[in-house]
């Protein structure tokens, strides 16, 4: 997680402030936190200035006036709440999201658990793709016996998938 101000050094100071019931977070490296006086309790009001560099600003870079067609959630709503409206918002606001997630997490790609249902569907799709690729190669290489075997496997996996090749 890098510093929100210099974007270079790793953040070591994590500031959470609740202003008017809204939670705002800012991550700073040692040097920037000292420079901005965040470690000094009296200087905490300065954080307001810093918070302008937080998540909501990143979102705005993705373009303003955007609205989720599924739930009607807008950029301004995100700025107000720091939350999304529905799962589709992750697609709608994808532009600003990457930069924001980078600042919060370790990369922007999930590597953990996948729901069982999707896992099966994904394995199925991967297998389908692999067989189709091999089939195409076998045909190109004029290995028709192999191609016939692959076609049978494909048929078995998903009837109708062979026609797409």
């Amino acid at each position: 997680m890098n510093c929100d101000v210099c974007k270079q050094k790793p953040a070591t100071v994590f500031l959470t402030q609740i202003v008017d019931g809204k939670m705002q977070k800012v991550n700073l490296c040692d040097a920037c936190s000292k420079e901005k006086g965040v470690t000094d309790p009296k200087g905490f009001a300065l954080a307001d200035l810093l918070l302008g560099l937080g998540a909501s600003e990143e979102m705005e870079r993705g373009g303003t006036g955007l609205k989720c067609p599924m739930c009607g959630f807008s950029q301004a709503d995100f700025k107000k709440t720091g939350r999304f409206g529905c799962s589709n918002c992750y697609e709608v606001f994808a532009d600003g999201l990457e930069a924001m997630l980078k600042g919060m997490h370790k990369g922007t790609t999930h590597t953990g658990k996948v729901p069982q249902r999707l896992l099966k569907a994904r394995q199925h799709a991967d297998e389908l793709k692999r067989l189709q690729r091999e089939l195409r190669k076998a045909v190109d290489d004029e290995k028709y016996e192999v191609a016939a075997q692959l076609r049978d496997q494909l048929k078995h996996l998903e009837p109708g998938a062979v026609g797409e090749v």
Binding site: R83, F84, L101
Partner: protein, 378 residues
């Protein structure tokens, strides 16, 4: 099963028999999950929230883990009952503020609770005594897998499980341990520890989570990152850091015994005196003094059989538990009086602190250590 029956028994995590439970009070893991085709609770209209609730609640209730469960709509719980659940860490403060459209389902042992329509559609939470994050994860993971087969969870190819707040996206997992760290506080090392923990991307929070004070020398250590790391990786890293803090706390206590016995005797003695003789006590003060008493038991200043009593008082002196036991709503002043009364009564037969043996033992250990170290250099 009625709520009062569940609450009459203290939860498993309060029994304090988990690994390292003298210092690690509890391990907690929660998973945030949402249903694909509904807006998140904070943005959803009441009808959508109710639709999610009616879809998810029966599925949660039918889990084998919830065979002996208590389940309630939020509007059917009184403010006091909700607060009791918050104090037991079975629902969050945010969830306690909800009304129509939300619900909670929990098992009788109080190790598993599922909040419906909190910030996310589902918050699956496990909590156990002591340091056993991986066991707790196993429990919530199993429940999540079962629910994932019946409910259409919002899952993104790249971002993983989608959550209302982007700080939870990916695994949707927040794992934490509640640690009792009076040694590090008394030896003034706690701030260094907090800074070091923050440096490795973990958070330190107070008793009731985000934005709360560290009362009673109780600190929650939790992961911040939920995206880009596997659940097991997050847990392993967190566990390692917790074990290190645990070691630091043990060392801090040993060092205080050897080098600053008067500080310990004074803190524990004063806590004992006030707890035994006060007639009005705010819950903050009670937590801080009970923390000293607990440290006294850990160090052997008090007999071991006093431990359960002290641990129970931590919970019984919390505002909602206090009012629940008195069966009525009380003003702050009345609560403080009642709290002091309860503490005085329960501690009436508690023996005076006796630090002699512990301090002698500390000295001997130091001597041995010095001799050993000296021997090695020769």
């Amino acid at each position: 099963m009625a709520l009062h029956n569940i609450l009459a028994e203290s939860g498993e995590w309060l029994s304090g028999d988990g690994p390292q439970s003298h210092i690690v009070i509890s391990s907690r893991v929660r998973l945030a999950r949402n249903l694909r085709n509904f807006p998140f609770p904070g943005w959803a209209k009441k009808t959508d929230r109710i639709a999610v609730l009616e879809c998810a609640k029966p599925q949660v209730e039918s889990l084998p883990e919830m065979a002996d469960a208590y389940s309630a709509y939020s509007q059917d719980l009184s403010a006091l009952e909700k607060q009791v659940l918050v104090e037991r860490h079975l629902v969050s403060r945010e969830h306690a503020a909800k009304g129509v459209g939300s619900a909670v389902v929990m098992n009788r042992k109080q190790t598993l609770s599922v909040m419906i329509n909190e910030e996310d559609h589902l918050r699956i939470q496990g909590i156990r005594s002591g340091l056993q994050l991986k066991n707790v994860f196993k429990l919530v993971d199993k429940v999540d897998t079962a629910l994932g087969e019946r409910l259409d969870f919002a899952f993104h190819q790249q971002y993983g499980f989608l959550t209302a707040c982007p700080t939870n996206v990916g695994t949707g997992m927040r794992a934490s341990a509640m640690m009792h760290l009076p040694g590090l506080v008394l030896s003034e090392q706690i701030n260094q520890v907090i800074q070091a923990v923050n440096k490795v991307g973990l958070a330190v929070r107070g008793l009731y989570g985000e934005g709360t004070e560290a009362l009673g020398n109780l600190f929650q250590i939790s992961n911040q990152i939920t995206l880009g790391e596997k659940e097991e990786e997050i847990l392993t890293r967190l566990n390692k850091v917790i074990e290190q803090i645990l070691n630091h706390e043990v060392n801090a206590r040993a060092s205080l015994l050897q080098k600053r016995p008067v500080l310990l005797l004074d803190n524990i003695g004063r806590a004992f005196g006030i707890l035994r003789h006060a007639h009005s006590m705010a819950s903050k003060e009670a937590l801080n003094l009970l923390s000293c008493l607990k440290l006294g038991v850990d160090l052997g200043f008090f007999p071991e059989d006093g431990r359960l009593l002290v641990d129970q008082l931590f919970m019984e002196t919390q505002p909602a538990h206090l009012q629940k036991s008195s069966q009525q709503k009380l003003q702050a002043e009345e609560r403080d009086t009642l709290r002091a009364d309860i503490v005085r009564t329960k501690l009436a037969k508690f023996p005076k602190p006796d630090g002699k043996k512990a301090i002698e033992r500390g000295k001997d250990e130091r001597k041995e250590k010095d001799e050993k170290d000296g021997g090695e250099t020769v």
